[in-house]
Symmetry: C2
Subunit: 344 residues, 2 copies
Amino acid sequence: MEDKIKVIIYGLGVIGGNIAKAILEKKGIEITGVIDIDPQKVGKDMGEILGLPEKTGVIVSNNSKEVFENSSAIAVIHTTSSYLPQVFEQIKECIEARRNVISTCEELSFPYKRHTELADKIDTLARNYGVTVVGTGINPGYLMDTLPLVLTAPCLDVKSIKVTRMMNSAKRRIPFQKKVGTGLTPEEFRKCIEEKRITGHVGLLESINMIASGLGWELDETKELPPEPVIAEKEIETPLCKVEPGKVLGLKSIAFAKMNGKEVISLNFIAHAGVEEEYDEIIIEGNPNIHQKILGGVHGDIGTVAVTINTIPKVINASPGLFTMKDLPVPSATPMDMRVYIKK
Amino acid sequence: MEDKIKVIIYGLGVIGGNIAKAILEKKGIEITGVIDIDPQKVGKDMGEILGLPEKTGVIVSNNSKEVFENSSAIAVIHTTSSYLPQVFEQIKECIEARRNVISTCEELSFPYKRHTELADKIDTLARNYGVTVVGTGINPGYLMDTLPLVLTAPCLDVKSIKVTRMMNSAKRRIPFQKKVGTGLTPEEFRKCIEEKRITGHVGLLESINMIASGLGWELDETKELPPEPVIAEKEIETPLCKVEPGKVLGLKSIAFAKMNGKEVISLNFIAHAGVEEEYDEIIIEGNPNIHQKILGGVHGDIGTVAVTINTIPKVINASPGLFTMKDLPVPSATPMDMRVYIKK
């Protein structure tokens, strides 16, 4: 059989680490290099950082140039930041090293509106160096953009799309519970919003713009509202703390888009403790109407790891340039040896 | 603005007719030729056959060669039969006339297993003539194959997939109600099955094989069971007839696949009068589990028309060869002027 698919991990934080662990359990794919700037990680074996019982033989390096020179790899899994201007130089470096890039940078999932110029630069670079670049993840990248688009396929007409992601944050990891403001007073919550210590969900506008692009819609307004706190009416116990009535259970991030003065896209990201029914819901008003629900929702952490890994073969098979998830072939799982997905 | 996208309709039956009507209502696309062998239709204006108040100026012809010679068109919408061997020569003719082909032929939706040789011939022909060929429709083509695959994207592992399409046949057109055996005695139903006057749903094995291919699964068994009648327990009124207890309300078509001796794919097409809750359901057992439901289901007739029309720009933009829906970019609606979807 062919050599394994070789990848470099760029950023070994929570998401990068979970992706690395999942790749180590997969067949037909191996990690040949890890880049991270955290002094606590540099020089150590990736296995140690991931808390694995055995060493992997791959040492974390803060010298990306050296990693690219010494590690053969067809693609880079990039997970360092949500904001494209912060990661542009890193993406550029990967491209110039002639590696395909799969990034969880939220703003890269549909960069053409917020960062038109950077998107153009990345596309040109990628074409020049013959590699493919895509931003992905569970959301943005899948649940609130690619999947709603797929669900419009049986429609002759689409009037509006409403997506709601309803999550019980108390079931997620502690950092996520903190990120949604669990246990704060409403005043503390508002202060965190002002100081951008709570940002809400990153990527709602990217999802809106991907949907609009897929449907050929020219929007006349897109707007992301500041995250709103969800306040406890009764006491709720969470793994983080006991939330008393009047305190914050979590948040709602809402964004919408208008076309010809009418609201045509509405995205609702709701994550707080005490949610009894978790779900991901897509309501399409059109001909015909489509009302779909994923009962229990999709687990966000596993989802991001899986969507990212499952995108690897699609990116390797794609033609050069900057792509979004809607432009690649239908996304799907890669439960088997990764090599079976690579087109010769 | 550019010229309209021109298409030829090959087969003006129920589905072809509905597609033609929907295209006539769309912007940026026009029908430049219609092929049908029905003597009742040949020589008449398409508008007359479609029951439109006005003539369209397009005359139905049984001379496909002439239509290809005289009608400029970038694609053919082909809707003549469910079975690939019956339509192979027609598809070949379209390809040799250098037209892209979007066909509702069920067996073309994933032809590699049932008709390996024909699939190979079509792919080679399409590449040689520089056109793209795809088989599509609501099912096979979307609900029981493409959509389940899309829903595996957030999964690190997939153990099994179960798809159920639950339809109230009494809400569909009369020919469909007859097709599922409404009002027959169980004996009459079994005779219809034996004589192949009732076939159940065509394309379950194509859907199974598309799912397996998308997941890289090597199946060791695929099986389609003969359609089973669903018997009335109480009297049920339908637009076709009154169904007395003990008589047939409709049918179940079931197919499944095994891998390593275990059932891994199960497709259940259930259509009968008296269904109270219509839905399309996908249950993925994996990491994580995904349980998706389209409440109310997707209307099959509109769905097939829409999926077919919405595939036109994807096929025009694709590279030459035979494709299946899973290999094209994410399917989605085309609510706007069709020309906006065409890449230059």
